[in-house]
């Protein structure tokens, strides 16, 4: 799994590439959180267009980042999940809490 970051005003844009599972999500969490603290941002956009696999660990990863952003009054949005990833996201009703641009 690879992660890269971009900043768009007060939003941190996170591009995740590869597979999100329990193994890779620990690393993703640490890297996103330290970037979120370092940069002058309050919102997060997670771009999932390059994610080839995601299991329920991804739900935990996204919900956890949603909490971080909310705690300082920010928002979290998901960009371009694949059909399969979207299926997992919908299962957890996460789509009622965050903006989901499919």
């Amino acid at each position: 799994m690879d992660i890269s970051f971009k900043r768009d005003r007060n939003t941190l844009v996170v591009l995740i590439e590869g597979e999100i599972d329990h193994h890779t999500s620990k690393d993703a969490r640490d890297r996103i959180d330290s970037k979120f603290i370092m940069e002058p941002v309050k919102n997060i956009i997670i771009d999932l267009s390059k994610v080839s696999f995601m299991d329920s660990s991804g739900i935990g990863l996204i919900t956890g980042r949603l909490k971080k952003a909310s705690s300082i009054g920010g928002t979290l949005a998901i960009k371009k999940p694949s059909k399969e990833v979207l299926r997992i996201l919908k299962m957890s009703k996460i789509d009622s809490m965050i903006e989901l641009d499919a």
Binding site: D21, D55, S56, I59, L61, M91, S92
Partner: protein, 142 residues
């Protein structure tokens, strides 16, 4: 029904083996030439069950996980087993969003994903002995 093929894999409860287990199950089932969707569902369900053995069964300590895949003409059966701490209340464990490890950012959706993505799911578990998950999936090419 006579199985067409079968395989049994034992591996350490290391998180890097989550991806390994998915590859093993998918390349075994691929022999039956299923659809990409069926393969994706199997990869996801295997990932959930193996992750559970690592995190919950063995509390991220070392243990052995066994995965067995049996291929029948139109169906695959996948069993994932650990000798870890076991589940006290299986009904509660199956509830969507229930997790005993929120501090690890678990979503409590593992069993729900397995149930949704596979055709049948059986959970056998007893505290102190371990957990055994048996899942089947129609391959839809019979």
């Amino acid at each position: 029904m006579q199985p067409i093929n079968k395989v049994k894999v034992e591996f350490l409860s290391k998180s890097s083996n989550e991806a390994f287990a998915r590859v093993v199950a998918a390349s075994f089932v691929a022999q039956a030439d299923p659809s990409i969707e069926v393969l994706a569902d199997i990869r996801t369900a295997v990932s959930e069950a193996v992750t559970n053995s690592i995190i919950h069964g063995y509390d991220e300590k070392e243990g052995i996980i066994t995965m067995a895949c049996t291929l029948y003409p139109e169906l695959v059966e996948i069993t994932i087993e650990d000798s870890g701490k076991g589940i006290e209340d299986i009904e509660k464990a199956k509830e969507p969003l229930y997790t005993s490890k929120p501090e690890l950012e678990r979503s409590g959706m593992g069993f729900t994903v397995m149930e949704t993505f596979m055709d049948t799911l059986i959970i056998e578990s007893s505290p102190g002995t371990g957990t055994r998950i048996v899942m089947t999936k129609q391959l839809g090419n019979g």
